[in-house]
Point group: C2
DNA sequence: CGAGCTTTTGAACGCAGTCAACAATTGTGG
DNA sequence: CCACAATTGTTGACTGCGTTCAAAAGCTCG
């Protein structure tokens, strides 16, 4: 059930539709969007801070990172994206990019011209609202990361990170038997949770020793989901996975 | 030149218009929005995490904070808002609030029903786009805070924070002669930049000793803006103050 | 003028960073 | 398929930025 097997538009539609049910007409408008599919190697910049892109990219396969550097060259990763996400959707309304986006493993990306997206958004306000909502969920995740990085210690922080990643992968069908692929180096993990790679290594060992996770290569196995959630103080509310207002 | 002297709608229109020039008709639509003005005391919750608000609030006077708590009760402030901002604009499309918003000093707030905003957004796509853009700038600020908190040390971090606050206040006319009011306790400052209040106190002293800032009560004076920017590694790009694409 | 909050100070401690070396794994070219 | 290079993961020792706790001093405001 690889995400890459679907057409780019279908992946996008399925995601938008799951929250914000679309009409047949709206769905067709999205299907009609021209998408240029491109393959990227690992560790390649897709767009850079300061760029003025004229297109957005839909992640179809692989994982990407949003990052920035300090003056001293320290890196902070502020977001990871899973298939179905649009890492630079913001660029539709913010002309200059304020962060860089890069692959962390080989990726397939679909590019859509801003022009085309704007046309669809103007004609179909509900599609615009659905895209808007996507960016609001991104922002909600940033807030949670701020809490996580600012106020939780490394062990809890890493547990929380793993919880979030697991849940987001589950949504796109990339988790089986509480096992998922995390093709990311400890250096990158460290830059995501704002610690050093050495410390990430030690925390991972502690988590393995405590039976919180098991690892086999890049595979991560979560034997006790409830426990991981507890250790990571994880509450998925902030991911806004359902349109909760309907309940 | 107090922001509070204008009508709520005018404050909002001026901000949206400065980036995204509006037509007379669009302006009139915004002027017609019913706004209920309410006064709040200091340190009062306006909305709480888990709420399902049916309205947004425009900050007219004072400062508000967006915050969350960890399981142990540690607080992280993830955003401060200045007059003209809409601290919970996200709630227009995310049914359940994933953070709390509180005043940090006595505030004047204008409440607008979601229903009314949605009507205006549907009828005027450019207004919707302008609001959308506002939420994207908020997200951009979250990203910068992640970099700041995650990868800069306390001194630089606080300098950066002061730079941002100064610039944002300047935009709404609340800075005179490089002096601004910061009616916020050191405990709150600490929760915003993710350190302890004790450390904030020491860093502030260091900054005063270095001549980076002067303080008189809650007033902060910046004698050398260029130097503060440098010490804080501050580049205002991420605030997206102009629609840079027009250049 | 006193209660309550905020700022300031000192001292001890600890989580995590840095540096450096080594081991394991992955990737690559012959 | 193997040898070698490069990357990634692991370990130990030392250091330090910042936390915590507790108490004193300074403000603010009824």
């Amino acid at each position: 059930m690889k995400a890459g097997l679907h057409s780019p538009q279908t992946l996008m539609i399925r995601k938008l539709d799951s929250i914000f049910p679309l009409s047949a007409e709206e769905r067709q408008a999205l299907q009609g969007l021209p998408v240029q599919v491109t393959l990227f190697k690992a560790d390649q910049d897709i767009v850079r801070i300061g760029d003025r892109p004229s297109q957005c990219c839909v992640l179809l396969e692989g994982f990407t990172q949003v990052y920035k550097l300090t003056a001293e060259g320290k890196r902070q990763i502020m977001a990871l994206h899973v298939p179905g996400d649009i890492p630079d959707l913001q660029s539709l309304h913010l002309k200059v990019l304020d962060n860089s986006v890069a692959t962390i493993c080989p990726c397939t990306l679909g590019f859509i011209q801003h022009e085309d997206m704007r046309r669809v958004c103007e004609r179909y306000p509900r599609i615009a609202a659905a895209f808007w909502r996507e960016t609001l969920v991104d922002a909600s995740i940033f807030r949670e990361w701020l809490l996580n990085i600012g106020r939780r210690e490394a062990y809890t922080r890493l547990a929380h990170f793993l919880c979030e990643f697991l849940v987001r992968l589950k949504v796109v069908g990339l988790v089986e038997d509480d096992t998922f692929d995390l093709p990311i180096t400890q250096v990158e993990l460290a830059d995501a949770i704002a610690t050093s790679n050495v410390h990430v290594n030690r925390v991972l060992q502690a988590m393995r020793a405590n039976g919180l996770i098991q690892t086999r290569g890049t595979q991560v196995i979560v034997p006790d989901w409830e426990r991981l959630k507890e250790e990571g103080e994880f509450d998925p509310l902030y991911l806004h996975l359902q349109q909760e207002g309907d309940a």
